[in-house]
């Protein structure tokens, strides 16, 4: 079983993990070579494109926030034994709810008030959407994976409908989204970059909250108990249903916050792809990090940099920036294969030890 604690034991299979990543990197290098470029050049260029200018670094930070938020939310659901694939939809609904709040308030309330309400609306939207998946799961006995994926489609459809329908900008209905909000409704940024201190602080607060709750509170402990063994937990008197729904709600709140911030701090409007697939990316982050909140930040930072740095592929090398998606996928697969192999190796080692003993 892949549980956080498995990281603690000394690992006879560590070589497999490193080895799998190395093989993955070699595969990627080969792929780049096939396109006629030097992997080193591409790597250097991508690092430069992620950290070269303050704009770019700020963008890494700006992408880091939704990744961190969604990943923190997923820490709760994963530890409750839930596969909240609906995180994308929760993010989208968060974005829609924040947009709705801004549209209602932009003419009547002062900017900061409208923005605060919009953030809360985003959170609420995410919670509602997640609880919908939770209710289908807990009361309707529908796998949360399918409930989540289904609700993702509904959320995406709703966003597209609103953008092409009731919320389209005057005279224009386009993929590029609703009319941008006035600058008074943009979250302040650091200099002229895209990093918003408000968003960064929100991400940081949520991260610290998540780490503390999961490591230091009875809530976190009980959540893990429910996730590991709902039957035992029930027998012991832990209300499993309530904990499952709490996990959904927390995850939804964080994804909804991420969606709201995408509107307020990044796009300043609702676009059909407001989640930018960051929810799915954060699923990978959490799984790679062994469901441990402590690994969220470094992994999210890495993937954020990869995501931002990949924009240089088409600019500098005329390479598909989708190659970055391939790189991501290969690395994740390599890490998972490595983990699987190392677990097998450890199981073999244990079996051998038992035989000797």
């Amino acid at each position: 079983m892949a549980t956080p604690a498995s990281a603690k034991t000394p690992s006879p299979g560590a070589a497999y993990r490193v080895g799998a990543i190395v093989v993955g990197l070699i595969f990627i290098a080969g792929l780049v070579l096939l396109t006629g470029h030097s992997p080193i050049d591409v790597l250097v260029a991508m690092v430069k494109a992620a950290f070269g200018t303050e704009d770019q670094f700020a963008r890494v930070l700006a992408t880091l926030v939704p990744l961190t938020l969604c990943a923190c939310g997923l820490i709760f659901t994963f530890n409750a034994g839930l596969y909240n694939l609906g995180v994308e939809g929760q993010m989208i609904i968060g974005g829609i709810a924040a947009t709705l709040a801004l549209r209602l308030l932009q003419d009547s309330a002062p900017g900061p008030v409208a923005m605060a309400v919009a953030i809360l609306a985003g959170i609420a939207g995410g919670v509602v959407w997640a609880l919908l998946a939770g209710a289908l799961n807990v009361f309707g006995r529908i796998s949360e994976i399918f409930a989540g994926l289904g609700l993702n489609f509904v959320a995406q459809g709703l966003a597209v409908y609103l953008i092409f329908g009731p919320w389209k900008r005057p005279g224009v209905a386009s993929m590029s989204g609703t009319a941008p909000f006035p600058e008074t409704l943009w979250l302040p940024t650091i200099g002229k970059t895209e990093a918003s201190p408000v968003a960064l602080i929100a991400g940081l607060v949520v991260l610290v909250f998540t780490v503390i709750v999961m490591r230091n509170t009875y809530f976190g402990l009980r959540l893990r108990a429910v996730g590991l063994n709902p039957r035992s937990s029930t027998v012991q008197g832990i209300p499993a249903t309530r904990y499952l729904l709490s996990a959904f709600a927390l995850s939804g709140a964080m994804a909804g916050l991420a969606g709201g911030l995408q509107v307020l701090a990044i796009f300043h409007r609702l676009i059909p792809n407001i989640s930018s697939n960051l929810g799915f990316l954060s699923l990978l982050i959490v799984m790679l990090g062994n469901f441990n909140a402590l690994f969220v930040l470094p992994l999210a930072f890495f993937f954020s940099a990869l995501n931002v740095g990949s924009l240089t592929l088409p600019i500098q090398f005329q390479l598909e920036s989708a190659l970055a998606g391939v790189i991501q996928g290969v690395l994740v697969l390599a890490a998972l294969i490595g983990r699987g192999l190392s677990q097998q190796a450890r199981a073999r080692a244990r079996a051998a030890a038992v035989r000797k003993g």
């Binding site: 009875y218 976190g220 027998v235 038992v354």
Partner: protein, 503 residues
């Protein structure tokens, strides 16, 4: 085909699942393999069918050593197994399943549906099964799916058929049909191994029987010659029960902590979990009393324990403790000081993935004696104390699934709250070494001294006789009123379990 298993050994970690097991199944005979759950029957069946590799020992087929290390080897040798869980594809028709299960055909072979259907109908008719090959398997009952599987195995040309607990979940009529088909297959010269923990089925069907207990063969009997029973059914079953449960006599005399005052009373309780329905007699559990629940597994002991734990509401009747607990939520039972320790420790008791220390913290939070933040120091302290007190071989940061069975059971006991009125246990010492078993009972009896009552189910009649003040016998859907253990011995208990309630 003559199947001979010689001195088979198989260990899983510390558990010796098959300890020097030998068995001979002859062509034309139905051979029963009888024993309680966990006796090692399934392990043996899986060794013979290649699903498990044995540590040592020989398999001889028609007198020649055979190499069986994969399921394919077994199939090629003509050994087929009817699994407990059907292996078919519910969305397809019976005929499609039948054809899909035919090995050795290249994937491009044109399916000869008509020929296959003809063959299907021939075999079905020969065995007396009334299956329509065009029906969807998803609409079949468990018994019909079993019949389909038997037909498939016959088409494969098996010469030895193993049936693993085949009578679970099928109707009485289907059971008769199955038994008739099994006899027919034996008449055609096949050897049959019938794996079961159900005494009555073995008596009704088998020509010979091998009884296993705790991984060892306890003995073998010939029940029938030329289709006729060699003794009366009652004597046969009491003989087999003794083999199943052991005849070592323990001294029933021991001190009791039983007080006069009843702690819990069940009156007119009827329990029903859809598979089984039992009506319980009046039961008054007294303070400090230990009541053993005896019977073949699945006779309703578990229903009673779960009911008392508040996990299975009764369809009728009342349960009274200090307060009326009838139809109260599970929480009320926990508050009433009732603790349930299930047989499957890692499934229903402990939480695999959490450490001992985390279990200590978790129990404290459930007991409502904790704030928001986990007090690690005190949990560590509690875990260390428990480890010392119960002699658990483990550390506070050991994850419970890494502990041995005995240490898991000790951990479960260590995690029990200090104040308890009733402990409900299934198989308190199953899978435990002798030392652990003694520890467990020492601890339980200490609890009784402080007024806690204990209800426990066990397949080990010695354990029941040794520790119970009173015994409740479950047999064939009947539950007898509690009997003083002093008034019983293992033999009489065995006969009662076998159905002679007045023995």
């Amino acid at each position: 085909m003559l199947v001979e298993l010689r001195h088979i050994h198989k260990r899983f970690g510390a558990v010796h699942a098959n300890n020097d097991v030998s068995l001979t199944a002859r062509p034309g005979r139905v051979h029963g393999l009888l024993g309680e759950n966990g006796a090692g029957k399934s392990t043996l069946a899986k060794i013979l069918t290649g699903f498990i590799t044995r540590d040592s020992g020989d398999i001889l087929l028609d007198g020649k050593p055979a190499r069986i290390s994969t399921p394919a080897d077994a199939t090629a040798a003509g050994i087929g197994m009817l699994h407990q869980d059907p292996l078919d594809v519910p969305a397809m028709t019976a005929l499609d399943n039948f054809m899909a299960g035919m090995p050795g055909r290249s994937p491009v072979t044109v399916l000869r549906g008509a020929a296959a259907e003809k063959r299907f109908r021939e075999i079905a008719a020969g065995l007396g099964f009334k299956l329509d090959p065009r029906d969807r398997v998803g609409d079949f009952t468990v018994g019909e799916r079993q019949q389909l599987e038997v037909i498939r195995l016959m088409a494969l040309g098996v010469r030895t058929l193993i049936l693993d607990e085949p009578t679970t979940g099928i109707s009485a009529a289907q059971k008769d049909q199955l038994f008739e088909a099994v006899r027919q297959m034996a008449r055609e010269g096949r050897s049959i191994i019938f794996v079961s923990h159900k005494l009555e089925d073995v008596c009704a069907l088998c020509d010979e029987v091998t009884v296993m207990r705790r991984g060892e063969v306890m003995g073998g009997r010939v029940l029938r010659e030329e289709g006729r029973l060699l003794d009366t059914p009652a004597r046969i079953s009491s003989d087999l029960v003794t083999l199943m449960f052991g005849r070592e006599l323990a001294s029933p005399s021991r001190e009791t902590h039983r007080q006069e005052q009843p702690a819990f009373t069940l009156s007119g309780v009827v329990l029903d979990d859809r598979r089984l329905r039992i009506a319980l007699p009046e039961i008054a559990i007294r303070r400090g009393e230990i009541i053993g629940l005896a019977g073949l597994e699945g006779s309703g002991q578990r229903l009673l324990l779960q009911h008392c734990a508040g996990l299975l509401p009764a369809t009728a009747g009342r349960l009274l403790g200090r307060t009326d607990l009838t139809h109260k939520p599970h929480k009320a039972y926990l508050r009433a000081g009732i603790m349930y320790l299930p047989a499957d420790r890692l499934k229903e008791g402990l939480i695999g993935g959490l450490t001992l220390q985390e279990h200590v913290a978790l129990r404290r939070s459930v007991a409502g004696k904790a704030g928001t933040f986990v007090n690690r120091a005190s949990a560590l302290d509690g875990a260390e104390k428990a480890i010392t007190a119960l002699n658990i071989r483990g550390r506070p940061d050991s994850r419970v699934e890494r502990l041995s069975g005995g240490n898991q059971q000790r951990a479960q006991l260590a995690l029990m709250p200090a104040q308890l009125d009733l402990i409900l246990m299934e198989h308190p010492t199953r899978g435990l070494d002798v030392e652990s078993a003694m520890w467990v009972w020492k601890l339980l009896r200490e609890r009784c001294a402080s007024g806690t009552s204990i209800l426990f189910a066990s397949a080990d009649l010695d354990e029941i006789m040794q520790y119970s003040d009173r015994v409740i016998v479950f047999s064939g859907g009947q539950v007898a009123p509690p009997v003083e253990a002093n008034a019983l011995d293992v033999d009489r208990l065995g006969r009662r379990i076998g159905g002679q309630m007045d023995a």
